[in-house]
């Protein structure tokens, strides 16, 4: 156990997560100063609307990666839930019921992943590559190349309308609520402590009485349900339920979570870092788009940021170890 040699404010501020937050703030300031039109109200509106699905899914993904597992099937669950939502609406069901059924189906999808990983003992990377194909296949199979459109305005407007006169969409409140729920879950409950313990050492966690299997199952169910919720939002936001909605989004989510400082090996991660990671990608995207830079360069920026965010601390850590060793040798020499 490391004793806290540093004052509390250093412990809060000098972290990997705050680095992402800092980069986000710098990027925002630079973008506002340099990019014409970035500080307008529309930017914020579209930023929130665009990042909402990734942000939602990134929350449970944070917890899953913090245990050392991964869920690559999330974007396919988005697609499947979008299709279910559309088909149920087409069948004449109320949208409230359709939403509920879609989210439940998402939870079932997550439960299948979770059961195979937790109780079947199978590697989550391989399982969720399989279910990525399976759920996407079901979505495309159910709807083919057609789309369900014509959702009532009251619902589609609800997904995009602003909060009164402010530039913030109404869904901002929901997003903040979800962020709060997951932040509390990870950082202030025994469950969250178990999640990080499993990530450090699944074996040790089991021996200290953590129900590893149940915890993993719950996380995958959460991931499925939240992804399905994001799917319903995605459908309403673009007014169209399609089988190929959000294809490839899983990689965006994973990239954002890792940018936010969650270790791919598990054991460390924080919700505020991940939120900053998601927003950072969003800000870079909208700033570059406003500058007329095409989406390609954004890809390069995201990819490079991802690599650097993993490699840089590794190199810094290596240098710190070397310095400490050198310092150790010096003090030994003094002692003699």
């Amino acid at each position: 156990m490391r004793t806290h040699a540093r004052p509390w404010w250093q412990r809060v501020l000098l972290t990997r997560e705050m680095l992402t937050v800092l980069i986000l703030v710098v990027a925002w300031i630079v973008a506002s100063a340099v990019v014409r039109g970035f500080d307008g109200p529309l930017t914020i509106t579209y930023l929130v609307l665009d990042v909402a699905p990734v942000l939602l899914i990134a929350l449970p993904m944070t917890l899953i990666i913090a245990t050392g597992e991964i869920d690559l099937s999330v974007a396919s669950v988005v697609g499947l839930s979008s299709v279910t939502f559309g088909l149920l609406y087409q069948a004449g069901l109320g949208l409230g019921v359709a939403l509920l059924v879609s989210v439940l189906l998402g939870a079932v999808c997550g439960a299948v992943n979770g059961a195979l990983v937790a109780y079947g003992g199978l590697p989550s990377l391989a399982v969720t590559i399989g279910s990525l194909a399976l759920y996407r296949g079901l979505a495309v199979g159910l709807l083919g190349t057609t789309a369900v459109t014509g959702f009532p305005d009251s619902w589609t407007d609800g997904a995009t309308d602003n909060l009164g006169e402010s530039p913030y969409p109404a869904i901002t409140l929901g997003l903040l609520g979800m962020i709060a729920v997951f932040a509390v879950l990870l950082h202030a409950t025994p469950f969250g402590r178990n999640v990080l313990d499993i990530g450090r050492s699944s074996e040790a966690a089991r021996f200290s009485g953590v129900d590893v299997k149940r915890t993993l199952l719950i996380l995958f169910v959460l991931s499925g349900a939240v992804s399905a919720l994001a799917g319903v939002y995605y459908t309403l936001r673009y007014g169209s339920a399609r089988g190929d909605n959000a294809t490839g989004m899983e990689l965006q989510v994973v990239a954002a979570v890792l940018l936010g400082g969650v270790s791919i090996f598990g054991g460390r991660g924080a919700v505020h870092g991940v939120v900053a990671g998601v927003l950072l990608i969003g800000v870079l995207g909208s700033a570059l788009r406003l500058e007329g830079v095409t989406v390609n360069v954004i890809n390069i920026v995201i990819g490079t940021a991802l690599v650097v965010s993993v490699v840089a601390p590794r190199i810094a850590g290596g240098m710190r170890v070397r310095r400490r060793r050198a310092a150790g040798r010096r003090t030994q020499g003094d002692g003699r």
Partner: protein, 351 residues
């Protein structure tokens, strides 16, 4: 003989034969027409080359998600070279694409081996970067069949002795890499590294050099696949190969290569690739709309992983029983009989 039949690869080969058999029974043209025979061999060629490269990387307990982007970049490079210099020999263009792929793979390998960071993250990053480079370079331009020499495009469909050229290329790649993995010291060291990286390093194996080699090979084969893609389809847009990485990893997993490294063969991965694509083509024939293809493929991947786990558990129990009762002279009861069927290989039965 029983050893060969009990191999994991035999199961996939059997599944492949059953799929072909059933589909041919429904529609004889699936196998028994010139077009059917050609498609059967030709369609999986590109994925087989990619799967062989991916299998080598996965055997070292790594993964390369950037292969789809490398394929896109090198396919576009191929077309662009022909466009700029129509007189360039095909061999030179192919070489240029393979070298480019090798370099891109080396970038992945260098970061993974020297910074000691997880390949999943690094290659996810380079997936975006390489794709971004292609998109920036190509823009909305597209290479069309008219931009490439006819002899080159002919390679995509031509046959020698009834076997498509691209299939021969894939078979040669498979044989060469399979021979290396099975017999050479370097190949065996890749298995050792994948079984237990720390133990391999302690034993003094050149872990970094081998990892670099594995990623370079994966990149080179993705580059070759890029050339094959250009020859096969004739048109290359900046989106070529998008999403292919997951298909490749799926094929490798179905082929019995454990995602945590150390076991499986490139032949299995190649069979996995053939099975996935053959099922894709068989479904519409047996009356299942092709919209459902991905669902079937997904179920197959999950089934294959679960099956591998059951087999591994059974093997672990058998080994434990043998240890308790002393060695037996069972048909395949050699201690340490790994999944790749060679005696004396260490294998992680507890994973």
């Amino acid at each position: 003989m029983t050893n060969v039949l009990r191999r994991r690869e035999a199961g996939i080969a059997l599944a492949l034969l059953i799929v072909i058999g059933v589909t041919t029974a429904v529609q004889p043209g699936f196998l028994l027409s010139t077009g059917g025979w050609r498609d059967l061999l030709l369609t999986p060629a590109i994925l087989v080359v990619l799967a062989v490269g991916q299998a080598v990387v996965v055997i070292t307990r790594n993964v390369d998600l950037s292969v789809g982007s490398v394929l896109g970049l090198t396919a576009y490079l191929t077309g662009r070279l022909f466009l700029e210099a129509p007189d360039l020999p095909i061999v030179v263009v192919t070489l240029a694409a393979v070298v480019t792929g090798t370099l891109l793979g080396l970038v992945n390998g260098a970061i993974v081996a020297f910074a000691r960071v997880p390949a999943l993250v690094i290659t996810l990053g380079t997936l975006y970067v390489y794709r971004g480079v292609t998109l920036t370079w190509a823009g909305s331009d597209r290479i069309d069949a008219g931009d490439m020499p006819r002899t080159f495009l002919g390679l995509g469909t031509r046959q020698v002795l009834g076997i498509p050229v691209l299939t021969i290329v894939a078979a040669v790649v498979l044989a060469a890499v399979g021979y290396y993995m099975y017999t050479s010291r370097g190949g065996r060291q890749l298995y050792a590294i994948g079984s237990d990286p720390d133990a391999a390093a302690l034993q003094g194996l050149p872990v970094r050099r081998r990892l670099l080699g594995a990623f370079a090979l994966g990149g080179a084969l993705a580059g070759l696949a890029g050339v094959m893609f250009a020859a096969r389809y004739g048109t290359v847009s900046s989106g070529a190969g998008t999403g292919m990485e997951l298909q490749v990893v799926g094929a490798v997993v179905v082929g019995g290569v454990a995602i945590f490294g150390g076991s499986g063969t490139v032949a299995g991965a190649a069979l996995g690739a053939m099975l996935l694509l053959t099922i894709n083509r068989a479904l519409p024939v047996v009356g299942i709309p092709d919209f459902w293809q991905r669902a079937v493929v997904g179920a197959l991947i999950i089934g294959a992983i679960a099956l591998d786990r059951v087999l591994a558990n059974r093997r672990a129990r058998r080994l434990a029983a043998e240890r308790d009762t002393g060695p037996t002279d069972g048909a395949d009861g050699r201690p340490g009989d790994g999944a790749d069927g060679r005696p004396g290989d260490s294998e992680d039965v507890t994973a």
